[in-house]
């Protein structure tokens, strides 16, 4: 079973359409995805080698119930144990995994759950990633908020009580350059205690600059760690360069960021191998940068505008839960974020087990927070990146989490430069 990602927009000219089809069907006209483009930092690091050795040799079919039991009964989780927990052999042990994960979560995080909201400030994009609603060939309403609009959106969000914000853009260095993003972050510092970014990967110097603008957390999703598969999904744009994306978190830490977040987009490729690589990416970087804060997300594929058939294939809720529990047992200190791609029911359940951070009051569109929060509809808005499944407001999220006996937390952080 495969997703059918490709579709054409009626906006394209004949030549444009021809070019699009050529890129889709003829790999030889795409750039080498393993080669850095001019201007991209190449850092001296062995992290990629460490992660990929495990990724390449991981054969999850060889693990048995005995390996899973050993992992569950051990005090500490080795890489081998983790591999067993991610394997199909662990599926019948999901309840035991959840119980163990819950213990680890409460050891490290007590009963707290952090709340944040994402803010998309622009949806222009120069990449052609076939599964993404923002991809440059998708016919959607594009918008880039100006500073005044950004401030207005932030005010609306901040008034709702939120103290942590994640600023996102489409990946267009020409439409949304580092300076523009930096200014947005400076505004965000006025309204929020914690500012994170999820933007296109940049060089160490740029991360340094963004850190000076108030950013302390950088999220970059690798999408898939299978570089061959990656090549077939990211057909155009800077994002096509797989190793540069891989090194993003390390460059961010070199640029002085306090924390970094990782993820594969589950459903794009072999999810067990991608989950393994995501966690090992955290594991090896944590050993190299022990001061850094680490966090994992676990998004699954979602439908997008103009293609409502996209789905996460073999990654059902049970498989997702297994991945999250394995993450927690292997990396007890790591933050785990579960986004509004998942349903309210799933998110209520998973925060009791392993998730430590959830988004609330989410929109993946551009400039529509006021409309969403107050019902006011006179602003121009830009289209969304993907469909969300959990549209709960901050208030309802807060009361749901409290009702589970957990403690919602808005901030536990102070920016010290």
């Amino acid at each position: 079973m495969e997703n059918n990602f490709l579709f054409d927009s009626d906006l394209l000219t004949e030549t444009g359409l021809k070019r699009k089809h050529q890129i889709e069907t003829d790999p030889s006209c795409r750039i080498n995805h393993m080669e850095y483009l001019p201007g991209m930092d190449v850092i001296d690091s062995d992290i990629r080698k460490c992660v990929m050795e495990h990724f390449d040799s991981y054969d999850y079919s060889k693990y048995t119930a005995k390996d899973v039991r050993r992992a569950l009964e051990s005090d500490r989780c080795t890489i081998e144990d983790f591999k067993a927990l991610l394997s199909p052999a662990a599926e019948p042990f999901l309840e035991q995994m959840a119980a163990k994960a819950q213990k680890e979560t409460s050891k490290h995080f007590g009963n707290t759950v952090y709340l944040f909201t994402p803010l998309y400030i622009a949806n222009y994009c120069e990449n052609y990633c076939v599964y993404c609603g923002f991809n440059c060939y998708n016919k959607i309403k594009r918008l880039k908020l100006d500073y005044e609009q950004i401030e207005h959106e932030m005010k609306v969000i901040s008034d709702s009580g939120m103290e942590e914000i994640l600023i996102l853009t489409g990946e267009s260095p020409s439409k949304s350059d580092v300076k523009y993003i930096g200014e947005a972050c400076k505004i965000a510092r006025k309204y929020f205690k914690m500012v994170g970014i999820e933007i296109y990967p940049v060089n160490v110097e740029d991360y340094k600059y963004l850190h000076e603008c108030g950013v302390d957390y950088v999220t970059v999703f690798q999408e898939t760690y299978d570089s061959d598969k990656y090549e077939t999904l990211h057909l155009m744009g800077n994002k096509r360069v797989w190793p540069y994306r891989f090194d993003s978190q390390e460059r961010a830490l070199m640029g002085g960021m306090r924390g970094v977040a990782f993820s594969a987009l589950l459903g794009l490729s072999d999810f067990r191998k991608d989950a393994l690589a995501s966690a090992l990416h955290v594991y090896f970087l944590q050993r190299k940068y022990p001061h850094a804060e680490m966090s994992l997300s676990c998004p699954r594929l979602r439908p997008i505008i103009n293609n409502d058939t996209i789905n996460p294939l073999d990654v059902g809720e049970k498989q997702l839960c297994q991945v999250i529990c394995a993450y927690r047992i292997f990396l007890p200190y790591c933050g785990i974020t579960v986004s509004s791609r998942e349903t309210a029911e799933f998110r209520n359940g998973i925060v009791k087990i392993a998730a430590t951070k959830v988004s609330a009051g989410v929109s993946t569109g551009i400039g529509d927070h006021e409309e969403k929060y107050t019902g006011k509809q006179d602003e121009e808005t830009g289209d969304e990146q993907f469909e969300i499944s959990d549209g709960r407001s901050l208030n309802s999220m807060y009361s749901d989490i409290s009702a589970e006996g957990l403690q919602p937390v808005f901030n536990d952080y102070v920016y010290v430069g």
Partner: protein, 255 residues
């Protein structure tokens, strides 16, 4: 098991027992090598005799790697000086850093140890620092070029065993260097326990030197260390936990 070697500074060892230097006698060295299988023997440079009589260097059998230590050093500067002296004396490139600014408990000074390790590693020594088990210090030692990390189990010469067990375990889990448990191991069972945890080797002296039958104790240590190592490689079995399972399943919400 046959290919299970301890590698330090590019050199391979079959034995995971290292003889310390606190209490020396010809008989002890003999027992350590013959009965405990030691291939590394520590030597306090300050005790090497420059005159002909009773020179410890003469007691060291062939095929045994000499590990000169810097005992007596009170800071990094003195340790560096002693290490260089050892090299001049022909003791090779291995050096164990011991820096004590405390003559009562003889606890190692982690701060000065980092400084000495950095200087000596740059000079090409195979540096094996003795330290109080602190994760940040261990990381720093690794960063500046240590070849192993040698955390203490309890105060030196005390035979009190693994008082710092939790912290040594953290070093074993987090540091990509051989962790050699040094000081305080008093019984074979304690040596075995440290090896089961994943320690790379055990260093002991007083436990043997003060035993009733030196030879027999040396061989008991050899067996205990081998047993612990085997258990570690085999992967320890489960420990049953008491307590009932939760009545409400945690995963009941999944579709």
């Amino acid at each position: 098991m046959e290919n299970d070697k301890l590698v330090i500074g590019g050199k391979e060892f079959d034995s995971r027992f290292i003889l310390g230097s606190g209490k020396y006698s010809m008989k002890l060295i003999e027992a350590a090598v013959k009965d405990a299988g030691a291939q590394i023997i520590t030597l306090a440079v300050r005790r090497t005799n420059t005159k002909d009589e009773e020179n410890i260097l003469d007691y060291i059998p062939e095929g045994v790697t000499l590990l000169p230590n810097t005992s007596g050093a009170r800071d990094a500067k003195e340790a560096v000086r002693i290490a260089r002296l050892a090299r001049e004396l022909g003791c090779g490139d291995f050096v164990k850093i011991e820096i004590m600014r405390d003559s009562k408990y003889l606890l190692p000074d982690n701060y000065e140890t980092i400084k000495a390790t950095e200087i000596l590693a740059k000079e090409g020594f195979v540096v094996m620092p003795y330290m109080y088990p602190d994760l940040n210090v261990a990381r720093e030692l690794q960063n500046v070029g240590a070849a192993t990390i040698m955390p203490l189990a309890s105060p030196i010469g005390s035979n009190k065993g693994l008082a710092t067990k939790e912290f040594i375990q953290i070093l074993i889990d987090e540091i990509d260097l051989p962790i050699i448990v040094d000081a305080g191991i008093g019984k074979p069972s304690q040596a075995c326990e440290a090896m089961e945890m994943g320690a790379a080797a055990i260093m002991a002296n007083t436990a043997l030197a003060t035993a009733g039958d030196l030879t027999m104790m040396a061989s008991a240590f050899k067996d205990a260390i081998a047993a612990g190592r085997k258990a570690y490689l085999a992967g320890l079995g489960r420990v049953l936990t008491r307590g009932a399972a939760a009545s409400d399943p945690l995963t009941g919400f999944l579709h």
